[in-house]
């Protein structure tokens, strides 16, 4: 017995070892066995409806047909600070991925994006970009590392059905913050749902506090030369927090949930639990794809701005970037994909029509309000091209689309915006969860904390 068992065990152990070495393959291949350039691109947010994925896959097929030497693999993706960092550090980011405007400069500075200047220049429309918008993906010496793909302005999202139930006219959204407050109170009183809600988690609390602060005339940072100073403790921010405090604790119009992030607030809004909230003008796409919102419920108004030259509408956007580890062939292929999927449609009629048609055929949103990444005329032209395919309730967004032109647009804070937002999350959460929160003390503390973040660089 003994004599049999030992060799058998040794064989088993050897097999285990052999199995382990077999498993330890190399990294992702840059070419397929057929010699095609392999790239991985981000597709849609996890949990999007099947029809949206079908439309995306159709676009991949169109791209591969037009570029027979490129093989595209898709990967579901939703940018959140923590998951992005993990993918960045773990080296698992796809060849093409997207990041918010706020992170472009920081990632370029840290050498974490591929330099795609030459490939971008070959596209032939680099000089058409809005210079300020393109700058979010450029290095200090003018090299291009990321391309803006879309820009949004924050708007006031509102539920038309709740407006009606509360006895408000859904075609007359609030135009001042005092009206927002009284409407919210009326909605909460008559429908029992939150009249107004605000995001507070995963940096969105800071993002929205900054938006409200801008709208009330404040700014979170000031730049002199190379020096960035935290100005979190400003009258606009104070007024913003006081408004939230009044709505939450005096009026009781903000519901009971104070821990919302981007996904959960969209979810509750689509489910009819929220009367109004601030969100990007393009959020309808996600509300439809991920949360199945009833289009009749949806309303988008331009964000009220306080009178005065300083008040501004916060705008931001998305950059498409290429993995720094991608080979030169992959970088070229990746730029082609960025052109095909994100940008070409704005400058070429055939691309615009094909994109809109593909989406519309799968009943995916076409025509959500965007802000120009090229010049105004290019966007107007694009909107004309896709007009026959527009299927979003644009009439219910007219307050935004008409009102946005008169607004003073202001970009997100220039330095370490996401880290600053993380600090401000705590401030917003404190005001919304503690009726006795001391706004002055919170702002003074946050100002010091943000300055520390900025000094660390």
């Amino acid at each position: 017995m003994r004599s049999i068992r030992k060799p058998a065990a040794a064989v088993a152990a050897a097999l285990v070892l052999a199995g382990m070495t077999a498993c330890s393959g190399g990294g992702e291949p840059t070419t397929t066995p057929e010699g095609k350039t392999a790239i991985t691109v981000v597709s849609l947010k996890p949990g999007s409806e099947q029809a949206a994925f079908d439309a995306f896959e159709e676009q991949v097929r169109q791209f591969e047909a037009a570029n027979p030497t490129i093989d595209v693999t898709t990967q579901e993706y939703e940018w959140t600070g923590p998951t992005f960092t993990a993918q960045l550090a773990g080296g698992t980011l796809p060849t093409v991925f997207t990041v918010p405007f706020t992170d472009g400069a920081g990632l370029v500075e840290r050498g974490q994006l591929a330099d795609i200047t030459e490939h971008v220049q070959a596209l032939g429309y680099v000089d058409k970009f809005n210079e300020a918008v393109l700058a979010t993906g450029k290095s200090a010496d003018g090299r291009i590392f990321a391309l803006p793909t879309e820009a949004y302005g924050v708007g006031l999202q509102y539920n038309r059905t709740l407006f009606q139930q509360a006895g408000l006219d859904p075609d007359e959204p609030p135009t001042t913050w005092d009206e927002v407050r009284s409407y919210a109170e009326q909605i909460a009183e008559r429908t029992g749902q939150a009249g107004y809600a605000e995001m507070t988690q995963d940096n969105t609390g800071g993002w929205m506090l900054t938006t409200l602060t801008y709208a009330l005339g404040g700014r979170m940072q000031s730049v002199t030369g190379d020096q960035v100073q935290a100005t979190v403790d400003n009258p606009g921010a104070k007024a913003a927090l006081q408004r939230l405090k009044q709505m939450r604790w005096e009026d009781g119009s903000m519901g009971a949930n104070v821990l919302y992030d981007w996904s959960t607030i969209n979810q509750d809004f689509a489910a009819g639990k929220i009367g109004m909230y601030m969100g990007g003008s393009d959020v309808y796409t996600s509300l439809k794809q991920q949360n199945g919102i009833d289009p009749d419920d949806y309303g988008l108004a331009v964000l009220p701005l306080a009178p005065g030259a300083d008040s501004g509408l916060l705008g931001g956007g998305t950059l498409a970037a290429v993995n720094v580890k991608a080979s030169p062939e992959q970088q070229a292929a990746a730029t082609k994909w960025i052109d095909f999927y994100y940008l070409g449609k704005f400058v070429r009629q055939d691309a615009a029509v094909q994109d809109a048609k593909t989406l519309a055929e799968s009943d995916q949103p076409v025509g959500v309000p965007k802000l120009p990444i090229f010049d105004e005329a290019t966007l107007t032209q694009y909107n004309e091209w896709i007009e026959p395919y527009v299927n979003v309730p644009l009439g219910q967004m007219s307050s935004f689309t008409e009102g946005i032109h008169g607004q003073h647009l202001a970009g997100e804070p220039p330095a370490q915006a996401q880290e600053m937002y993380a600090v401000l999350d705590t401030v917003v959460q404190a005001v919304l969860s503690d009726p006795n929160a001391d706004i002055d003390a919170l702002l003074a503390q946050a100002d010091a904390d943000v300055q520390t973040v900025l000094d660390r660089g």
Binding site: P82, T85, D103, R110, G111, A256, S433
Partner: protein
Amino acid sequence: MLTWIRRGGLSTLLFLLPLVVVFGVFSWWPIVRAAVMSVQQTNLVTAPVFVGWENFETVFTDPLLGTAVRNTAFFALIALVFGYPIPLVAAVLMSEVRRWRGLYSAVAYLPVVVPPVVAVLMWKVFYDPRPEGLFNTVLGWVGIAPQSWLQSADTAMGSLVLEATWAAAGGTVIIYLAALVAVPPELYDAAEVDGASIWRKVWHVTLPQLRGVLLVTLILQIIGTSQVFLEPFLFTGGGPANSTITVLLLIYDYAFSSSLGGDYGAATALSLVLAVFLALLSALYFRLTRSWSTS
């Protein structure tokens, strides 16, 4: 050499190798890397820079560390007060019943089978802060006003402990039940002959017989709760206003909260500090309790 092989040296080595390789690759090497990283500044993409004790200084001067330690200690304490005796009481009661014992242990163990993330999502629904939320409805039946649960700094931590206790109790109950079977029945018979009540039997027979297991589960519970992460991460993200940020969540935040590439140096530095602290605590604990131990 040949004798060494014939004596079984080779197969011993072959047997040992997979284990050594697996432990080496998945445990020891990461531990060494973490120790190295704690004195480096790195974003894991560009080359790391040696910074000496700087990461430890960053960690120890971070005002959030105090908050995180206090919160973790508070969590550990209330988890101990509720989470430690409840499984013991449940196990003793269950061992006393004669019928349906299997059913009771299955029910007690059920929460352990539920995947933790699913459990947290489920409890998030229970903790709905509106008056029509599940727990608030139940409280309403007995005339208690609706609670904010996760939405207020005062009640958030308690809510986390409640779910954590529910989720973990089943596992401990099973350990106690197994240990209770090992208590010699003649001890109970003798106590019964002496006219001992059920409480005296528990106090004088059950607990002393279980003390070995109790000592181990206590330190495991302390270590486990010191590393609490899942509940604050999924329920509150450390909020409202940092009231549920724990040491592990702080480590996570160092590593991942900045989308530009995290401070992995500070994260590993704090991880090492926590590991050393828990190792010292365990050593001290076993030294202090050596005289009570059965082994």
